[in-house]
Symmetry: C2
Subunit: 260 residues, 2 copies
Amino acid sequence: MEFKNAKEARQKIREGMWTKPTPGLAYGYTQANLVVLPYKYALDFFIFCQRNTKPCPILDVCEPGKYTPIVTAPTGDIRSDIPKYRIYKNGNLVEEVTDIKKYWSEDLVSFLLGCSFTFEKALEDANIPIRHIEENKNVPMYITNIECKPAGMFNGPMVVSMRPMPKDLVQKAIDVTSRFPQVHGAPIHYGDPKKIGIEDINKPDFGDSVTIKEGEVPVFWACGVTPQAAIMRVKPDFVITHSPGHMFITDIKENDLALF
Amino acid sequence: MEFKNAKEARQKIREGMWTKPTPGLAYGYTQANLVVLPYKYALDFFIFCQRNTKPCPILDVCEPGKYTPIVTAPTGDIRSDIPKYRIYKNGNLVEEVTDIKKYWSEDLVSFLLGCSFTFEKALEDANIPIRHIEENKNVPMYITNIECKPAGMFNGPMVVSMRPMPKDLVQKAIDVTSRFPQVHGAPIHYGDPKKIGIEDINKPDFGDSVTIKEGEVPVFWACGVTPQAAIMRVKPDFVITHSPGHMFITDIKENDLALF
């Protein structure tokens, strides 16, 4: 199923007509990760993202209590336009919900962060295989031994997503994705997974394992799960995020995020 | 006078050996605008900058009470490494000082913002004239009729800097500066000043008037004075900024801010 634009997709999600993952919905529109935090954590989290723009590229921030992402989706509503949300208390997942209005308060600050789904279309257009799409799986994600720059109470490891490809396509993948600095940009590593602390490429920390064919190398991009990893280490008393794969669909066309 | 690198320049400034404007000091190192605000204003100001990245490109933010810009100058000290600071109370300039230690508190949040001085070297390298440098003046700056996107308590007009040049160099100037998105990037306008609300090009709101020769057109870039204009409209009870032309010199090489 696909909607004709982001606004229509958000409307259907808001009405409860779509509760599944969002990849492929509203073709060409940028999808975003959501993090909602109480005010007391917001400035430190914002600085954390500012210092680690590659894994944590901020697309939009709403002032305390506001739920309209006025930069990326002026008709959107943070509280209802995502098919599934996760509610965390003291680091523990306590509930998955399709609407967060009952949890909303004037104290909450919402962040929308770029997502690598955005550049997958550009990779496909360049004839680079997207294995997890071919195999109908979630992208494999790994916790690395690369520490993010800490900020205030937040610190954590960089999480990466991985897409395997023939070695002679790696440079093309670098070229294509470096055009998208607001959605993780160029890969941070390719080749030996151990060099970034990944012991077993077949056991991702998040998402699904995918086939790496003979002659292919794994290519690693900074991943939007990184801010969530930092949040989970800090264990704030309250956090809301999207559920994995259930993203906020913005009005920003993917190509508008390309540099050239 | 010129120092061999940013660290040496900051050291001399810290020791009180240099109290004049900084353009030309520590050749090749990025200079930054400083804004220091109490915690209660910091999140809204940060969101204001995030929504208006062209005039307000953030290079570094220090957590409340911290004065080390760990991303851009890990050996720096926000409190002493600028030759001249301005202290504002309730929107009024109350003092100019060479050190802000006596004003420092755990409640203060510091922002370093990109400055168009950074791309002037690249313009010169492309044989584009920099009139205010030729005439040994400060760059002319104007308040436009373009409103920034508001955020929380902050709102204000975009301020622009202007550099006149022969019409056939404008495209080159656009190409050169679009490589530097973190220091205002490509011009926001060129040609008729009235189209952006500037009534008299010979009467800048800040800086000095410069000669526009026969056959030249004015080219306008978003300017780092914009966040100060927004702050002055809000009149916070307390703000510290650098004094015009007296910038913070970071360890970031200007070329490191170029996209390619």
